[in-house]
Subunit: 78 residues, 6 copies
């Protein structure tokens, strides 16, 4: 089954740590879908990884994706 | 039934992967509704796909739409 | 019953498509309430419909309103 | 009972229309708390009501407040 | 028990009004934690309380914190 | 078990105060993952801790992370 936008095509992961990694990965795959050119993406990555405001924007995205993943996994309560 | 703003007029999709694709599509259809001129839209797309901050903004939108789609699909838990 | 801020004074609509349209309409009615002058509004609309960043901001708003509408309608699951 | 930040100190309102009005009012009361000087506030209001990006920011705030109010009122389903 | 980030180390408050005040306080305590220097903080506060866009950003933060507080208090329904 | 992105690899904490601290820590660990160079990170931190808009952005991130943590802990109601 194709899974270009979500690794393993699933929101279910074993731990919060994996949930955070998944959140980061999901965001990156959207960037890839929106900008398919790898060289341009690399340039942009260079830009936002050295820009304070954009790093904060990245944090905001990860926080939003993670909220969904955490709910999907029932917050790993059990 | 008309569905200019949501493909198939439904939030229910089979997998998380399709949910991500739907989130991207829903955002694009809002851009289309807000800016009906295809040529202007193409120019703007050119702009935001090469702008680090705007790519991050795109990620934020997709994350927000996806949260709704994921809830609608009960996170594809079963 | 007055309904200057929500068409039909209700969040309940028949389909996701109508839910997206309602989300856009609700956002527009807030703009109208915040800036009652139609001429200024028209100028501003001209600005943000041709600005990539602002179009993305619009998508973010619609995504947020839609999340509420979708929950209100139980995601049109049945 | 003091209610400087929420009219009637309650989230419960009869209709979605009143819910939208409450969302706008709640946002305004936070601005008032953050900037107690009425003259400065008036100047700022002048600024953001004529600025496309800030009007969109206002819409985003109202959408967020309204999500809470709508949930509090069980989306006025009955 | 230490409570540098949340007054009384609790999200439970008696009324929506107190909930709004708590939301503002919680945001301020994060600013304090992120920028421990009181003089710099005072300067920054001066800046954002007179800047329309930043006042709106403040509203957005309070709306987000309040959503959590309101849910914690079951929207003060009873 | 590795936990580079979440301390103790868990969202469950004893108090709201610890929940706020966890929210701040989780955001910082994403910054670290996105920008592994400690010296650059230190420079960026210097920038955003003295910038009013970025401090507010930080508050927004913490508010978003905290919403998830609070839900995971059932708002520490009992």
């Amino acid at each position: 089954m194709s899974s270009d936008l979500i690794p393993n095509n699933s929101l279910i992961v074993a731990t919060p740590e994996e949930g955070r990694a998944l959140a980061m990965k999901m965001a990156r795959l959207i960037v890839k879908a929106a900008q398919p050119d790898a060289a341009i993406r690399e340039d942009l990555r260079e830009i936002y990884s050295q820009n304070a405001g954009m790093l904060l924007q990245t944090c905001q995205i990860v926080a939003t994706e993670f909220a969904t993943i955490a709910a999907a996994n029932n917050y790993w309560r059990n």
